[in-house]
Subunit: 281 residues, 4 copies
């Protein structure tokens, strides 16, 4: 019998770094985690243990630190592209460099009503993300966010769904809707106001979620995607994943109490998982 290598890639994941930029009046703080995956002709390492084409993953780590030193790191997108192009430029046998970056959220501590110049408090688990897929001919740039945890206490219902022998769920015109949004949008080019675009998309999605009368998680997802496309001509599509973080109405009747949509139990599992990709017509 003989086996062959059908596909492969390798790299370094979770290269974390903190960059402090010391301006006279304030410090800028950036904390990111970088994942690198290279594609190319590495077959002989797999089949013969011949590492002569292998960029050590330790070298990738060093490269992230070194390039971060001389890059302004104003946004993660331009740094991801910069990293990806470095690996292509220095290694002719590499066909594609995938660089993914996740950025932690830090906010300035307010002291006396003013943002502090060098002290910060965590903005929570939400992460801004990007993925630069840098090939020889083109760079595809996707950005997004993860763990955007949102909840509305009303203006959400779910009626008219299919009923079969195993359906027990009652229809409802008023339920809690909570979800942890992951979004991933695709840019048309690589010369973009990355930070401005991120803010516009995030705000547009929050506005829709807050004000929208939801007839289904699916409908809200589509409306949020539509809003993102509307405020950001720089992108051509957006993929949204919205796990339903259920809040179940507690049955208080056995305890001789009414429960007019007041007391709920949050549950982690099982959870509905709703996905969709919205693009321009």
């Amino acid at each position: 019998m003989s086996a062959v290598l059908a596909s492969n890639s390798y790299g370094k994941s979770s290269v974390r770094l903190t960059k402090v930029t010391r301006h006279a009046d304030r410090h800028e703080l950036k904390e990111i985690s970088v994942d690198i995956q290279l594609h190319g002709d590495f077959d002989r390492s797999y089949t013969h243990g011949d590492n002569s084409s292998i960029v050590a993953t330790d070298t990738m780590k060093n490269t992230v630190y070194a390039l971060a030193k001389n890059h302004p790191l104003i946004d993660i997108e331009s740094f991801a592209i910069h990293l990806g192009k470095h690996f292509l430029a220095n290694n002719t046998h590499v066909t594609q460099a995938d660089v993914r970056i996740a950025e932690d959220s830090w906010q300035r501590i307010e002291v006396g009503g003013k943002p502090h110049r060098h002290s910060f408090v965590s903005g929570g688990n939400e992460k801004r993300t990007t993925h630069a897929a840098c090939g020889r001919d083109k760079t595809a740039l996707n950005s997004g966010l993860e763990n955007l945890l949102i909840l509305k206490t009303t203006q959400s219902g779910f009626v008219g769904f299919l009923r079969d022998q195993f359906t027990t769920l009652p229809e409802t015109t008023d339920r809690i809707f909570a979800t942890s949004v992951s979004a991933n949008w695709s840019y048309m080019g690589t010369s973009v106001d990355w930070n401005g675009c991120f803010k516009r998309i995030r705000n547009a999605m929050l506005d829709v979620f807050a004000d929208h009368e939801s007839l289904a998680v699916q409908q809200t997802l589509f409306a949020m995607g539509e809003a993102a496309l509307k405020v950001s001509p720089e992108i051509y599509q957006i993929e949204l994943t919205m796990p339903n973080q259920h809040r179940l109405l507690v049955n208080l009747k056995p305890l001789a109490l009414d429960n007019p949509n007041e007391i709920f139990v949050p549950t982690n599992e099982p959870f509905g998982l709703i996905s969709g990709t919205v693009k321009r017509k």
Copy 2:
């Protein structure tokens, strides 16, 4: 041989609930997780499997839901006391009821610059906590917070420490100081403006952290505790735990680069763990 029961307690943990209070102009949202532990004469359950003195932990869960229904839940402290007293009042063989509550942080989504009436976004991992230790004679009430993740990029040093055969750490007068604060303060009574007190203490600690010139994590901890006592006459002591979330300066010399306090690696472990309790003189 014979064995005896030296001590025991039992209860229900992680009873999560969401309470929505529907005012005409806005909805209030409270998400909490409740832990209950009862102490008392339960020995025969342990030694003989005789459950006649056992309040089922499932009943505790139901009790949390039922009491939450008819309690305003403006603050976790008064609900914790209410729960603890319920178990004491209904079970003469219970000597102490420990009720611990952790509250998730939710903030209103801002739409058009205004806080939304019923839509929320997560405030992150930070939790507000309380512990009501309700005994027959007295109730001891501690409150605090967990996972308050803060970082300052300067005004932190560490010099003059002991050096022995295994010391390699260089002294530094300028480092990043990051920590995830846990605080636990002790109230003198049980009739307090709980929400106001919480805000005063949290703000006071943040102010000190931000502006303080830190000579040691220990010193900052003490100063934060001192500030908490100052702004809150309602408490008599505060215990602080501050794990040092190290940001290590990357040695870029092998990469032919300087690193004047710009590029750091965040590490999760090992970590310094600094604790202290500050009380009024």
Copy 3:
């Protein structure tokens, strides 16, 4: 502007269940977590909030419980296919049902050297997995494992790799090799001795890992894949992902001590991530 739905799917995730089968001489225990995702014509739910084609995810959950009741659940593969086909058979507008199952590992407690008839101890974090992609024309069946954490203390080296301006890693002919294997293999058909095949593949991979003289993680990955193909004619390819769980040799020289490959620090991040797919020639 107008937007369209480019693609979509939805379902229920993390439907956990325990099945106990009570034989006269012993109980069988199965603990699984099921994820279901349906593809098909659900567009009007997204675009118009019209749920008339929506199988509620709550119904999916009930279906898992109901079908588990009357299925022997000897292996996760046949149950996944059974579930997938149910959703296709009952919903003509569904084009594909993806059912993923992860199985927890339980081992019988040994009492007096004999496996107990109804008492079990956890086998750890390793999970056996399967994915049945059930379409109208065919069912594609992949199985695998996750979190197979393995370590060898010698017979692993890494030399001859590329060196550039940012390379600092020394070559080594003797290092610790630790990894948490994820494997995912593809079956040619759907009538297979699933349990036997799983055992053969897992054992073959462990044998290679243990005895192999590793010149690179890549080489070991390929050799493990090759061995899996060899012992299991039922599969045509296997995808392996092997994150390198580094053990870094501690530099004890500053502490005036030698360290001849004795003391290492395990680190979680950053980590090398090596992937490859091996197929029959």
Copy 4:
């Protein structure tokens, strides 16, 4: 106002290390995580930022590595004592050194039915633990285990408990009993066959759990503690914590199916938490 330091301690946590001992016929592998906390006269660091009495936590980390190099590390208990005494001996102002160690479980891979000489597979999440509280006058040594996840499918009931207005739980004479045991036992001295004692206690607890007819988690806990004391004269008490990992019987009646104790849902929360300390009479 003035504040004083009521108590304090500090140290280094999660100092992970791997020790490989290379015998001619086999390698021994030990992976541990060490926490150190020192108590003593460190007040001026807190109150004045004067670090002249501070052993840097970085030095503690180095000390762990250095002492591990020259210690056989046959068991975690003797290493914990060795570490604690080192800090006392080298720092006259330290009054107590608390050293806690958790050991990962590794098992040899079996190749051809024989344990491999240098290749290992994870034994899961269960950890063996110890805590040496080393004071000037005495050393108190506690050991134990964490995350011992066990389940029995029958011979567990729960009847005769209190019923009040909020009780809805039905009595049952046959349920699944699953728990993740934490045990912590106290040794009379510090000269003990640590490994032998650990095995005896763990086995005795498993035997009782497996064979015991449980009338309450409390009763099983006590019986397990009693068994531990019986097989190990070296200890004088044992504290057990047994969170109830509920498996809830699924109500299949709405799905037109019976469920004679066959299909259960595992839930993580809320969970019963049962604790007790058993000592010699």
